[in-house]
Amino acid sequence: MKSDSIFKAMLYTGGVIVALLVVFSFISLFRASWLSIRQFGLKFILSPVWNPVSEKFGALPFITGTLATSILALFISLPFSISIALLVGVYLPDGFLKNSLSYATDLLAGIPSIIYGFWGLFSLVPLMRKMEIKIGILPYGVGILTASIVLAIMIIPYTSSISREVISMVPEDIKEAGFALGATTREVIFKIILPYARSGIFAGILLAFGRAFGETMAVTMVIGNSNFMPKNIFSPANTMASVIANEFTEATKDIHLSSLIQIGLWLFIFTFLINLLGNIVVNKFRVESRK
Protein backbone atom coordinates (compact mmCIF):
# COMPACT_ATOMS: atom_id res chain seq x y z
CA MET A 1 0.00 0.00 0.00
CA LYS A 2 2.73 2.37 1.08
CA SER A 3 4.97 1.50 -1.85
CA ASP A 4 2.02 2.12 -4.10
CA SER A 5 1.56 5.67 -2.87
CA ILE A 6 5.30 6.34 -3.15
CA PHE A 7 5.17 5.11 -6.72
CA LYS A 8 2.21 7.36 -7.39
CA ALA A 9 4.03 10.33 -5.88
CA MET A 10 7.02 9.62 -8.10
CA LEU A 11 4.87 9.62 -11.20
CA TYR A 12 3.23 12.89 -10.18
CA THR A 13 6.59 14.54 -9.50
CA GLY A 14 7.94 13.47 -12.86
CA GLY A 15 4.87 14.70 -14.69
CA VAL A 16 4.64 18.00 -12.86
CA ILE A 17 8.35 18.75 -13.36
CA VAL A 18 8.03 18.30 -17.12
CA ALA A 19 4.92 20.47 -17.25
CA LEU A 20 6.61 23.14 -15.14
CA LEU A 21 9.65 23.06 -17.45
CA VAL A 22 7.45 24.03 -20.36
CA VAL A 23 5.80 26.82 -18.41
CA PHE A 24 9.09 28.14 -17.08
CA SER A 25 10.79 28.08 -20.48
CA PHE A 26 7.91 30.12 -21.85
CA ILE A 27 8.20 32.62 -18.97
CA SER A 28 11.96 32.97 -19.27
CA LEU A 29 11.76 33.35 -23.07
CA PHE A 30 9.16 36.02 -22.59
CA ARG A 31 11.17 37.86 -19.95
CA ALA A 32 14.39 37.78 -21.95
CA SER A 33 12.64 39.06 -25.07
CA TRP A 34 10.71 41.77 -23.22
CA LEU A 35 13.20 44.47 -24.24
CA SER A 36 12.69 43.68 -27.89
CA ILE A 37 8.91 43.19 -27.55
CA ARG A 38 8.60 46.62 -25.94
CA GLN A 39 10.72 48.29 -28.59
CA PHE A 40 9.34 46.72 -31.76
CA GLY A 41 5.91 45.41 -30.78
CA LEU A 42 4.07 43.64 -33.57
CA LYS A 43 6.40 45.20 -36.12
CA PHE A 44 8.85 42.50 -35.09
CA ILE A 45 6.99 39.84 -37.06
CA LEU A 46 5.86 42.17 -39.85
CA SER A 47 9.05 44.00 -40.76
CA PRO A 48 11.39 42.48 -43.37
CA VAL A 49 14.52 44.33 -42.17
CA TRP A 50 16.97 42.61 -39.86
CA ASN A 51 19.88 44.97 -39.29
CA PRO A 52 22.10 44.30 -36.25
CA VAL A 53 24.21 47.39 -37.01
CA SER A 54 21.41 49.97 -36.92
CA GLU A 55 19.57 47.83 -34.31
CA LYS A 56 16.39 47.41 -36.32
CA PHE A 57 14.97 43.94 -35.99
CA GLY A 58 12.15 42.39 -38.00
CA ALA A 59 11.78 38.64 -38.31
CA LEU A 60 9.47 38.36 -41.31
CA PRO A 61 12.13 36.92 -43.67
CA PHE A 62 12.95 34.18 -41.15
CA ILE A 63 9.30 33.35 -40.48
CA THR A 64 8.71 33.16 -44.23
CA GLY A 65 11.80 31.00 -44.70
CA THR A 66 10.78 28.62 -41.93
CA LEU A 67 7.22 28.23 -43.19
CA ALA A 68 8.33 27.88 -46.82
CA THR A 69 10.94 25.18 -46.13
CA SER A 70 8.78 23.17 -43.72
CA ILE A 71 5.67 23.20 -45.87
CA LEU A 72 7.60 22.41 -49.04
CA ALA A 73 9.48 19.63 -47.21
CA LEU A 74 6.19 18.17 -46.05
CA PHE A 75 4.81 18.06 -49.59
CA ILE A 76 7.98 16.52 -50.97
CA SER A 77 8.13 13.88 -48.25
CA LEU A 78 4.46 12.85 -48.19
CA PRO A 79 4.33 10.66 -51.34
CA PHE A 80 7.40 8.78 -50.13
CA SER A 81 6.44 8.34 -46.52
CA ILE A 82 2.88 7.26 -47.28
CA SER A 83 4.15 4.84 -49.97
CA ILE A 84 6.55 3.27 -47.50
CA ALA A 85 3.86 3.04 -44.85
CA LEU A 86 1.41 1.34 -47.25
CA LEU A 87 4.06 -0.91 -48.70
CA VAL A 88 5.16 -2.12 -45.29
CA GLY A 89 1.75 -2.04 -43.65
CA VAL A 90 -0.37 -3.57 -46.42
CA TYR A 91 1.47 -5.06 -49.37
CA LEU A 92 4.58 -6.75 -48.09
CA PRO A 93 4.24 -10.08 -46.29
CA ASP A 94 6.08 -10.52 -42.98
CA GLY A 95 9.67 -11.33 -43.70
CA PHE A 96 13.09 -10.05 -44.57
CA LEU A 97 12.08 -7.38 -47.10
CA LYS A 98 9.42 -5.88 -44.86
CA ASN A 99 11.70 -5.80 -41.83
CA SER A 100 14.67 -4.35 -43.64
CA LEU A 101 12.56 -1.67 -45.33
CA SER A 102 10.98 -0.47 -42.10
CA TYR A 103 14.30 -0.75 -40.30
CA ALA A 104 16.06 1.33 -42.96
CA THR A 105 13.43 4.07 -42.82
CA ASP A 106 13.62 4.26 -39.04
CA LEU A 107 17.37 4.46 -39.29
CA LEU A 108 17.00 7.71 -41.27
CA ALA A 109 15.68 9.31 -38.09
CA GLY A 110 18.79 8.34 -36.17
CA ILE A 111 21.29 10.07 -38.46
CA PRO A 112 22.59 13.29 -36.84
CA SER A 113 21.43 16.40 -38.66
CA ILE A 114 24.98 17.63 -39.27
CA ILE A 115 25.48 14.57 -41.50
CA TYR A 116 22.41 15.54 -43.53
CA GLY A 117 23.83 19.06 -43.72
CA PHE A 118 27.15 17.89 -45.10
CA TRP A 119 25.48 15.50 -47.51
CA GLY A 120 23.32 18.38 -48.68
CA LEU A 121 26.24 20.73 -49.05
CA PHE A 122 28.57 18.37 -50.88
CA SER A 123 26.23 16.13 -52.85
CA LEU A 124 22.88 17.80 -53.30
CA VAL A 125 24.05 21.40 -53.78
CA PRO A 126 26.21 20.62 -56.87
CA LEU A 127 23.28 18.72 -58.40
CA MET A 128 20.93 21.62 -57.75
CA ARG A 129 23.49 23.98 -59.25
CA LYS A 130 23.63 21.92 -62.45
CA MET A 131 19.87 22.00 -62.65
CA GLU A 132 19.78 25.75 -62.04
CA ILE A 133 22.29 26.34 -64.82
CA LYS A 134 20.06 24.28 -67.15
CA ILE A 135 16.96 26.32 -66.40
CA GLY A 136 18.97 29.53 -66.61
CA ILE A 137 18.82 31.09 -63.15
CA LEU A 138 21.69 32.25 -60.93
CA PRO A 139 23.35 28.98 -59.91
CA TYR A 140 23.64 29.32 -56.13
CA GLY A 141 22.83 25.67 -55.52
CA VAL A 142 21.78 26.55 -51.99
CA GLY A 143 18.35 27.94 -51.23
CA ILE A 144 14.82 27.14 -50.12
CA LEU A 145 14.29 24.18 -52.46
CA THR A 146 17.62 22.56 -51.53
CA ALA A 147 16.87 22.97 -47.84
CA SER A 148 13.38 21.55 -48.33
CA ILE A 149 14.70 18.43 -50.06
CA VAL A 150 17.17 17.80 -47.23
CA LEU A 151 14.40 18.39 -44.68
CA ALA A 152 12.02 16.12 -46.58
CA ILE A 153 14.43 13.21 -46.30
CA MET A 154 14.92 13.93 -42.60
CA ILE A 155 11.21 13.87 -41.82
CA ILE A 156 10.19 10.83 -43.89
CA PRO A 157 10.70 8.41 -40.97
CA TYR A 158 8.44 10.45 -38.67
CA THR A 159 5.43 10.29 -40.95
CA SER A 160 6.11 6.82 -42.28
CA SER A 161 6.66 4.99 -39.02
CA ILE A 162 3.60 6.46 -37.33
CA SER A 163 1.48 5.87 -40.43
CA ARG A 164 2.79 2.33 -40.64
CA GLU A 165 1.77 1.66 -37.05
CA VAL A 166 -1.76 3.02 -37.45
CA ILE A 167 -2.20 1.24 -40.79
CA SER A 168 -1.23 -2.05 -39.23
CA MET A 169 -3.73 -1.39 -36.46
CA VAL A 170 -6.64 -1.32 -38.88
CA PRO A 171 -8.72 -4.37 -37.79
CA GLU A 172 -8.30 -7.39 -40.03
CA ASP A 173 -12.04 -8.10 -40.10
CA ILE A 174 -13.04 -4.87 -41.83
CA LYS A 175 -10.23 -5.27 -44.34
CA GLU A 176 -11.32 -8.85 -45.00
CA ALA A 177 -14.91 -7.68 -45.27
CA GLY A 178 -13.76 -5.32 -48.00
CA PHE A 179 -11.95 -8.07 -49.86
CA ALA A 180 -14.94 -10.38 -49.43
CA LEU A 181 -17.07 -7.82 -51.22
CA GLY A 182 -14.69 -8.06 -54.14
CA ALA A 183 -12.65 -4.90 -53.57
CA THR A 184 -9.12 -4.73 -54.98
CA THR A 185 -6.18 -3.97 -52.68
CA ARG A 186 -6.12 -0.41 -54.00
CA GLU A 187 -9.79 0.01 -53.23
CA VAL A 188 -9.34 -1.41 -49.74
CA ILE A 189 -6.52 1.10 -49.15
CA PHE A 190 -8.43 4.14 -50.33
CA LYS A 191 -11.88 3.23 -49.08
CA ILE A 192 -11.10 1.43 -45.83
CA ILE A 193 -7.51 1.72 -44.56
CA LEU A 194 -6.77 5.39 -45.21
CA PRO A 195 -10.10 6.71 -43.89
CA TYR A 196 -9.71 4.53 -40.81
CA ALA A 197 -6.11 5.53 -40.14
CA ARG A 198 -6.24 9.15 -41.18
CA SER A 199 -6.15 10.71 -37.72
CA GLY A 200 -3.03 8.73 -36.91
CA ILE A 201 -1.44 9.60 -40.26
CA PHE A 202 -2.27 13.22 -39.64
CA ALA A 203 -0.58 13.05 -36.23
CA GLY A 204 2.52 11.67 -37.94
CA ILE A 205 2.45 14.48 -40.50
CA LEU A 206 2.25 17.06 -37.72
CA LEU A 207 5.12 15.51 -35.84
CA ALA A 208 7.15 15.66 -39.05
CA PHE A 209 6.12 19.26 -39.59
CA GLY A 210 7.25 20.16 -36.08
CA ARG A 211 10.55 18.44 -36.73
CA ALA A 212 11.06 20.39 -39.97
CA PHE A 213 10.05 23.62 -38.28
CA GLY A 214 12.73 23.50 -35.63
CA GLU A 215 15.56 21.87 -37.58
CA THR A 216 18.64 24.05 -37.40
CA MET A 217 21.97 22.62 -38.41
CA ALA A 218 21.16 20.86 -41.66
CA VAL A 219 19.09 23.79 -42.90
CA THR A 220 21.71 26.41 -42.03
CA MET A 221 24.22 24.60 -44.19
CA VAL A 222 22.15 24.57 -47.37
CA ILE A 223 19.71 27.46 -47.23
CA GLY A 224 22.14 30.26 -48.11
CA ASN A 225 21.56 32.29 -44.92
CA SER A 226 20.53 35.52 -46.52
CA ASN A 227 18.28 37.78 -44.53
CA PHE A 228 16.04 39.01 -47.37
CA MET A 229 12.52 38.09 -48.21
CA PRO A 230 12.86 35.11 -50.57
CA LYS A 231 11.58 35.78 -54.10
CA ASN A 232 11.03 32.20 -55.24
CA ILE A 233 11.84 28.66 -54.15
CA PHE A 234 15.38 28.90 -55.55
CA SER A 235 16.20 32.03 -53.53
CA PRO A 236 18.64 31.83 -50.67
CA ALA A 237 16.78 32.50 -47.42
CA ASN A 238 17.07 31.97 -43.69
CA THR A 239 15.00 30.28 -41.02
CA MET A 240 14.15 31.24 -37.45
CA ALA A 241 16.15 28.44 -35.88
CA SER A 242 19.19 29.03 -38.06
CA VAL A 243 19.40 32.78 -37.46
CA ILE A 244 19.41 32.09 -33.71
CA ALA A 245 22.16 29.53 -34.12
CA ASN A 246 24.15 31.87 -36.33
CA GLU A 247 24.01 35.12 -34.41
CA PHE A 248 23.52 34.15 -30.77
CA THR A 249 27.14 33.59 -29.75
CA GLU A 250 28.38 36.96 -30.94
CA ALA A 251 25.36 39.08 -30.10
CA THR A 252 26.85 41.63 -27.72
CA LYS A 253 24.14 44.28 -27.85
CA ASP A 254 21.22 43.74 -25.47
CA ILE A 255 18.58 44.50 -28.07
CA HIS A 256 20.16 42.09 -30.57
CA LEU A 257 20.22 39.30 -28.00
CA SER A 258 16.69 40.08 -26.89
CA SER A 259 15.45 40.04 -30.49
CA LEU A 260 17.07 36.65 -31.11
CA ILE A 261 15.35 35.34 -28.00
CA GLN A 262 12.08 36.78 -29.24
CA ILE A 263 12.48 34.68 -32.39
CA GLY A 264 12.80 31.72 -30.03
CA LEU A 265 9.62 32.80 -28.34
CA TRP A 266 7.78 32.85 -31.67
CA LEU A 267 9.15 29.42 -32.52
CA PHE A 268 7.70 28.26 -29.21
CA ILE A 269 4.35 29.87 -29.97
CA PHE A 270 4.18 28.50 -33.52
CA THR A 271 5.05 24.99 -32.37
CA PHE A 272 2.37 25.26 -29.70
CA LEU A 273 -0.18 26.36 -32.30
CA ILE A 274 0.74 23.52 -34.65
CA ASN A 275 0.25 21.02 -31.86
CA LEU A 276 -3.03 22.61 -30.84
CA LEU A 277 -4.28 22.53 -34.42
CA GLY A 278 -3.14 18.94 -34.65
CA ASN A 279 -5.09 17.94 -31.57
CA ILE A 280 -8.22 19.61 -32.85
CA VAL A 281 -8.00 17.92 -36.23
CA VAL A 282 -7.13 14.54 -34.76
CA ASN A 283 -10.11 14.75 -32.40
CA LYS A 284 -12.42 15.79 -35.21
CA PHE A 285 -11.38 12.86 -37.41
CA ARG A 286 -11.72 10.50 -34.49
CA VAL A 287 -15.28 11.63 -33.91
CA GLU A 288 -16.05 11.30 -37.60
CA SER A 289 -14.67 7.82 -37.91
CA ARG A 290 -16.70 6.67 -34.91
CA LYS A 291 -19.92 7.64 -36.66
Partner: protein, 342 residues
Amino acid sequence: MKVVKIIVLATTMVSGVNAAVTLTGAGATFPYPLYSKMFSVYHQKYGIKINYQAIGSGGGIRQLIAKTVNFGASDAYVDDKGLKKFPAPIVHIPMVAGAVVISYNLPGNPKLKLTPDVIADIFLGKIKKWNNSRIRAINPDIKLPDMAIVVVHRSDGSGTTFIFSDYLSKVSNEWKEKVGRGKSLNWPTGLGAKGNPGVAGLIKQIPGAIGYVELIYALNNNMPYAVVQNKSGNFIEPSIKSVSLAADIKLPDDMRVSLTNTEASYGYPISGFTWILVYKDLKDGGLNEEKAKELVKLLWWMTHEGQKYSEPLHYAPLSPKARKKAEAIIKSITYEGKHLWK
Protein backbone atom coordinates in the same frame (compact mmCIF):
# COMPACT_ATOMS: atom_id res chain seq x y z
CA MET B 1 30.57 29.55 12.07
CA LYS B 2 34.03 29.11 13.51
CA VAL B 3 34.25 25.58 12.23
CA VAL B 4 33.32 26.73 8.73
CA LYS B 5 35.98 29.41 8.83
CA ILE B 6 38.61 26.92 9.91
CA ILE B 7 37.63 24.54 7.14
CA VAL B 8 37.74 27.31 4.54
CA LEU B 9 41.11 28.46 5.86
CA ALA B 10 42.43 24.92 5.87
CA THR B 11 41.33 24.23 2.31
CA THR B 12 42.75 27.48 0.99
CA MET B 13 46.03 26.71 2.74
CA VAL B 14 46.14 23.23 1.31
CA SER B 15 45.38 24.46 -2.20
CA GLY B 16 47.96 27.21 -1.73
CA VAL B 17 50.62 24.67 -0.86
CA ASN B 18 49.74 22.54 -3.88
CA ALA B 19 49.83 25.67 -6.08
CA ALA B 20 46.73 24.29 -7.77
CA VAL B 21 45.72 27.65 -9.16
CA THR B 22 43.36 27.36 -12.10
CA LEU B 23 42.62 30.41 -14.22
CA THR B 24 39.50 30.52 -16.31
CA GLY B 25 38.84 32.43 -19.49
CA ALA B 26 36.29 32.51 -22.26
CA GLY B 27 35.81 34.24 -25.57
CA ALA B 28 37.07 34.49 -29.14
CA THR B 29 37.41 31.42 -31.32
CA PHE B 30 39.86 33.01 -33.78
CA PRO B 31 42.92 32.85 -31.43
CA TYR B 32 41.85 29.54 -29.87
CA PRO B 33 44.48 27.34 -31.60
CA LEU B 34 47.21 29.71 -30.42
CA TYR B 35 45.85 30.10 -26.90
CA SER B 36 45.48 26.38 -26.39
CA LYS B 37 49.11 25.91 -27.51
CA MET B 38 50.31 28.71 -25.22
CA PHE B 39 48.27 27.48 -22.25
CA SER B 40 49.48 23.92 -22.60
CA VAL B 41 53.12 25.07 -22.72
CA TYR B 42 52.51 27.37 -19.75
CA HIS B 43 50.96 24.55 -17.77
CA GLN B 44 53.98 22.32 -18.37
CA LYS B 45 56.37 25.09 -17.41
CA TYR B 46 54.71 26.70 -14.40
CA GLY B 47 52.04 24.23 -13.32
CA ILE B 48 49.26 26.77 -13.72
CA LYS B 49 46.20 25.34 -15.35
CA ILE B 50 44.23 27.61 -17.67
CA ASN B 51 40.77 26.62 -18.70
CA TYR B 52 39.78 28.50 -21.85
CA GLN B 53 36.37 28.14 -23.46
CA ALA B 54 36.20 29.32 -27.08
CA ILE B 55 32.54 30.33 -26.99
CA GLY B 56 32.84 33.48 -29.12
CA SER B 57 33.82 37.05 -28.26
CA GLY B 58 30.30 38.07 -27.28
CA GLY B 59 29.98 35.22 -24.82
CA GLY B 60 33.42 35.98 -23.38
CA ILE B 61 32.46 39.59 -22.78
CA ARG B 62 29.17 38.60 -21.13
CA GLN B 63 30.95 36.14 -18.85
CA LEU B 64 33.52 38.74 -17.86
CA ILE B 65 30.72 41.18 -16.99
CA ALA B 66 29.13 38.43 -14.89
CA LYS B 67 32.57 37.72 -13.37
CA THR B 68 32.22 34.02 -14.04
CA VAL B 69 35.64 33.96 -15.72
CA ASN B 70 38.99 35.51 -14.80
CA PHE B 71 39.61 36.88 -18.27
CA GLY B 72 37.70 37.39 -21.48
CA ALA B 73 39.00 37.33 -25.05
CA SER B 74 37.64 39.27 -27.99
CA ASP B 75 38.40 39.94 -31.66
CA ALA B 76 36.74 43.34 -31.53
CA TYR B 77 37.48 45.90 -28.87
CA VAL B 78 34.68 46.93 -26.53
CA ASP B 79 33.34 50.32 -27.60
CA ASP B 80 32.59 53.14 -25.16
CA LYS B 81 28.95 52.18 -24.87
CA GLY B 82 29.90 48.59 -24.16
CA LEU B 83 32.43 49.60 -21.50
CA LYS B 84 29.62 51.09 -19.44
CA LYS B 85 28.09 47.63 -19.00
CA PHE B 86 31.08 46.47 -16.96
CA PRO B 87 30.73 46.97 -13.20
CA ALA B 88 34.34 48.27 -13.04
CA PRO B 89 37.00 49.49 -15.51
CA ILE B 90 38.64 46.89 -17.74
CA VAL B 91 41.80 46.89 -19.86
CA HIS B 92 42.46 45.47 -23.34
CA ILE B 93 45.74 43.63 -23.82
CA PRO B 94 46.59 42.87 -27.46
CA MET B 95 47.89 39.33 -28.00
CA VAL B 96 48.45 38.81 -31.72
CA ALA B 97 47.21 40.24 -34.98
CA GLY B 98 45.31 38.46 -37.68
CA ALA B 99 44.13 39.36 -41.16
CA VAL B 100 41.13 38.82 -43.33
CA VAL B 101 41.81 37.84 -46.93
CA ILE B 102 39.57 37.96 -49.96
CA SER B 103 39.33 34.59 -51.61
CA TYR B 104 37.62 33.67 -54.88
CA ASN B 105 36.87 30.92 -57.36
CA LEU B 106 37.88 31.73 -60.93
CA PRO B 107 39.07 29.46 -63.75
CA GLY B 108 42.77 28.81 -63.09
CA ASN B 109 42.61 30.91 -59.91
CA PRO B 110 44.89 33.77 -61.02
CA LYS B 111 46.45 36.17 -58.50
CA LEU B 112 43.93 39.02 -58.46
CA LYS B 113 44.69 42.59 -57.53
CA LEU B 114 41.91 44.56 -55.90
CA THR B 115 41.47 48.18 -54.93
CA PRO B 116 39.35 49.37 -51.97
CA ASP B 117 36.59 50.93 -54.12
CA VAL B 118 36.26 47.78 -56.22
CA ILE B 119 36.08 45.54 -53.12
CA ALA B 120 33.37 47.77 -51.62
CA ASP B 121 31.32 47.81 -54.82
CA ILE B 122 31.58 44.04 -55.24
CA PHE B 123 30.30 43.45 -51.72
CA LEU B 124 27.63 46.14 -52.18
CA GLY B 125 26.41 44.18 -55.19
CA LYS B 126 27.14 47.01 -57.61
CA ILE B 127 29.82 45.19 -59.60
CA LYS B 128 28.00 42.11 -60.80
CA LYS B 129 30.28 40.47 -63.38
CA TRP B 130 33.90 39.37 -63.26
CA ASN B 131 34.70 41.00 -66.59
CA ASN B 132 33.63 44.42 -65.27
CA SER B 133 35.85 47.12 -66.73
CA ARG B 134 36.98 48.30 -63.29
CA ILE B 135 38.29 44.86 -62.30
CA ARG B 136 39.91 44.48 -65.73
CA ALA B 137 41.61 47.87 -65.40
CA ILE B 138 43.49 46.74 -62.26
CA ASN B 139 44.26 43.30 -63.68
CA PRO B 140 45.23 43.90 -67.32
CA ASP B 141 47.17 40.63 -67.59
CA ILE B 142 44.35 38.39 -66.45
CA LYS B 143 41.64 37.16 -68.77
CA LEU B 144 38.51 37.59 -66.69
CA PRO B 145 35.45 35.53 -67.62
CA ASP B 146 31.94 36.79 -68.34
CA MET B 147 30.67 35.25 -65.13
CA ALA B 148 28.32 36.42 -62.40
CA ILE B 149 29.99 37.36 -59.11
CA VAL B 150 28.49 35.46 -56.19
CA VAL B 151 29.29 37.13 -52.88
CA VAL B 152 29.76 34.76 -49.93
CA HIS B 153 29.79 36.09 -46.38
CA ARG B 154 29.68 34.78 -42.84
CA SER B 155 26.21 33.99 -41.55
CA ASP B 156 27.31 33.71 -37.93
CA GLY B 157 28.33 36.76 -35.94
CA SER B 158 32.13 36.93 -36.05
CA GLY B 159 35.19 39.05 -35.41
CA THR B 160 36.20 38.33 -39.00
CA THR B 161 33.09 40.10 -40.27
CA PHE B 162 33.76 42.93 -37.84
CA ILE B 163 37.27 43.53 -39.20
CA PHE B 164 36.12 43.24 -42.81
CA SER B 165 33.17 45.60 -42.38
CA ASP B 166 35.32 48.00 -40.36
CA TYR B 167 37.65 48.13 -43.35
CA LEU B 168 34.84 48.64 -45.86
CA SER B 169 33.31 51.39 -43.71
CA LYS B 170 36.62 53.22 -43.82
CA VAL B 171 37.17 52.97 -47.55
CA SER B 172 33.61 53.49 -48.75
CA ASN B 173 31.13 56.09 -47.58
CA GLU B 174 28.31 54.25 -49.23
CA TRP B 175 29.15 51.11 -47.26
CA LYS B 176 29.36 53.11 -44.06
CA GLU B 177 25.92 54.60 -44.57
CA LYS B 178 24.10 51.60 -46.01
CA VAL B 179 25.64 48.72 -44.10
CA GLY B 180 28.09 49.87 -41.43
CA ARG B 181 30.34 47.71 -39.31
CA GLY B 182 29.53 44.94 -36.90
CA LYS B 183 29.86 41.25 -36.17
CA SER B 184 26.54 40.54 -37.88
CA LEU B 185 25.38 42.72 -40.76
CA ASN B 186 22.40 43.32 -42.95
CA TRP B 187 24.23 42.23 -46.11
CA PRO B 188 23.13 43.96 -49.31
CA THR B 189 23.81 40.86 -51.41
CA GLY B 190 25.04 37.29 -51.45
CA LEU B 191 24.97 34.02 -49.57
CA GLY B 192 25.81 33.40 -45.93
CA ALA B 193 27.72 30.42 -44.58
CA LYS B 194 28.68 29.42 -41.07
CA GLY B 195 32.27 29.82 -39.98
CA ASN B 196 35.44 29.97 -42.07
CA PRO B 197 34.92 26.36 -43.23
CA GLY B 198 31.39 27.20 -44.44
CA VAL B 199 32.52 30.25 -46.41
CA ALA B 200 35.49 28.36 -47.83
CA GLY B 201 33.20 25.48 -48.80
CA LEU B 202 30.85 27.73 -50.76
CA ILE B 203 33.70 29.59 -52.46
CA LYS B 204 35.26 26.30 -53.58
CA GLN B 205 31.93 25.03 -54.88
CA ILE B 206 30.51 28.03 -56.69
CA PRO B 207 32.35 29.17 -59.83
CA GLY B 208 32.57 32.97 -59.73
CA ALA B 209 32.28 33.18 -55.94
CA ILE B 210 34.12 35.73 -53.83
CA GLY B 211 34.27 35.89 -50.05
CA TYR B 212 36.43 36.63 -47.05
CA VAL B 213 38.15 34.28 -44.62
CA GLU B 214 40.85 34.55 -41.98
CA LEU B 215 44.40 34.53 -43.32
CA ILE B 216 45.31 31.46 -41.23
CA TYR B 217 42.40 29.58 -42.69
CA ALA B 218 43.31 30.47 -46.27
CA LEU B 219 46.97 29.53 -45.71
CA ASN B 220 46.14 26.19 -44.09
CA ASN B 221 43.75 25.31 -46.89
CA ASN B 222 45.68 26.60 -49.91
CA MET B 223 42.97 28.99 -50.99
CA PRO B 224 43.72 31.72 -53.52
CA TYR B 225 43.55 35.23 -52.14
CA ALA B 226 43.76 38.74 -53.54
CA VAL B 227 46.52 41.32 -53.25
CA VAL B 228 44.93 44.47 -51.83
CA GLN B 229 45.87 48.10 -52.39
CA ASN B 230 46.46 49.86 -49.07
CA LYS B 231 46.06 53.49 -48.04
CA SER B 232 49.50 54.42 -49.37
CA GLY B 233 48.61 53.02 -52.79
CA ASN B 234 50.84 49.94 -52.56
CA PHE B 235 49.45 46.53 -53.52
CA ILE B 236 50.12 44.31 -50.50
CA GLU B 237 50.15 40.53 -50.34
CA PRO B 238 48.61 39.38 -47.06
CA SER B 239 51.22 37.60 -44.94
CA ILE B 240 52.33 37.42 -41.32
CA LYS B 241 54.89 40.10 -42.05
CA SER B 242 52.55 42.55 -43.77
CA VAL B 243 50.02 42.10 -40.96
CA SER B 244 52.61 42.85 -38.28
CA LEU B 245 53.63 45.88 -40.34
CA ALA B 246 50.05 47.18 -40.38
CA ALA B 247 50.39 47.70 -36.63
CA ASP B 248 53.53 49.76 -37.11
CA ILE B 249 51.67 53.01 -36.51
CA LYS B 250 51.06 55.42 -33.67
CA LEU B 251 48.99 53.38 -31.23
CA PRO B 252 46.69 54.69 -28.49
CA ASP B 253 47.59 53.91 -24.87
CA ASP B 254 44.52 51.79 -24.20
CA MET B 255 45.20 49.81 -27.41
CA ARG B 256 41.56 49.88 -28.40
CA VAL B 257 42.52 50.39 -32.02
CA SER B 258 41.51 49.06 -35.35
CA LEU B 259 44.28 48.04 -37.74
CA THR B 260 42.25 48.40 -40.90
CA ASN B 261 43.36 50.83 -43.57
CA THR B 262 46.27 52.13 -41.45
CA GLU B 263 48.90 54.64 -42.55
CA ALA B 264 51.61 51.94 -42.58
CA SER B 265 52.96 52.00 -46.14
CA TYR B 266 53.70 48.26 -46.35
CA GLY B 267 50.98 47.02 -44.03
CA TYR B 268 48.14 44.81 -45.24
CA PRO B 269 45.01 46.95 -44.82
CA ILE B 270 42.48 44.36 -43.56
CA SER B 271 44.14 43.40 -40.28
CA GLY B 272 43.17 43.49 -36.63
CA PHE B 273 44.33 42.67 -33.11
CA THR B 274 42.79 40.11 -30.88
CA TRP B 275 42.67 41.04 -27.22
CA ILE B 276 42.46 39.56 -23.75
CA LEU B 277 40.24 41.57 -21.44
CA VAL B 278 40.67 41.74 -17.66
CA TYR B 279 39.46 44.05 -14.91
CA LYS B 280 41.93 46.85 -14.26
CA ASP B 281 41.75 46.13 -10.55
CA LEU B 282 41.51 42.36 -10.38
CA LYS B 283 39.73 42.48 -7.02
CA ASP B 284 36.78 43.92 -8.98
CA GLY B 285 36.82 40.82 -11.14
CA GLY B 286 36.28 38.61 -8.10
CA LEU B 287 39.79 37.13 -8.13
CA ASN B 288 41.80 36.42 -4.99
CA GLU B 289 45.24 37.92 -4.73
CA GLU B 290 47.05 34.73 -5.58
CA LYS B 291 45.07 34.24 -8.77
CA ALA B 292 45.51 37.89 -9.66
CA LYS B 293 49.30 37.57 -9.43
CA GLU B 294 49.28 34.43 -11.56
CA LEU B 295 47.04 36.05 -14.17
CA VAL B 296 49.35 39.03 -14.57
CA LYS B 297 52.35 36.69 -14.88
CA LEU B 298 50.50 34.75 -17.56
CA LEU B 299 49.64 37.91 -19.51
CA TRP B 300 53.27 39.04 -19.43
CA TRP B 301 54.43 35.63 -20.62
CA MET B 302 51.88 35.57 -23.45
CA THR B 303 52.95 38.96 -24.76
CA HIS B 304 56.66 38.07 -24.52
CA GLU B 305 57.97 34.51 -24.48
CA GLY B 306 54.65 33.11 -25.64
CA GLN B 307 54.80 35.17 -28.85
CA LYS B 308 57.16 32.67 -30.43
CA TYR B 309 54.28 30.21 -30.83
CA SER B 310 52.30 32.63 -33.00
CA GLU B 311 54.18 32.48 -36.30
CA PRO B 312 54.20 28.68 -36.72
CA LEU B 313 50.42 28.84 -36.34
CA HIS B 314 50.18 31.71 -38.89
CA TYR B 315 49.33 34.48 -36.41
CA ALA B 316 51.22 37.76 -36.63
CA PRO B 317 53.20 38.48 -33.44
CA LEU B 318 52.98 41.90 -31.76
CA SER B 319 55.12 44.58 -33.35
CA PRO B 320 57.73 46.18 -30.99
CA LYS B 321 55.53 49.26 -30.69
CA ALA B 322 52.48 47.21 -29.84
CA ARG B 323 54.41 45.16 -27.29
CA LYS B 324 55.60 48.35 -25.54
CA LYS B 325 52.00 49.48 -25.16
CA ALA B 326 50.93 46.03 -23.95
CA GLU B 327 53.69 46.12 -21.31
CA ALA B 328 52.46 49.45 -20.00
CA ILE B 329 48.90 48.14 -19.76
CA ILE B 330 49.94 44.97 -17.91
CA LYS B 331 51.95 47.08 -15.47
CA SER B 332 48.89 49.22 -14.79
CA ILE B 333 46.85 46.23 -13.53
CA THR B 334 46.32 46.37 -9.77
CA TYR B 335 44.91 44.39 -6.86
CA GLU B 336 43.16 46.59 -4.29
CA GLY B 337 45.15 49.49 -5.70
CA LYS B 338 48.53 47.71 -5.44
CA HIS B 339 50.44 47.20 -8.67
CA LEU B 340 51.06 43.54 -9.38
CA TRP B 341 53.94 43.66 -11.87
CA LYS B 342 57.19 45.19 -10.76
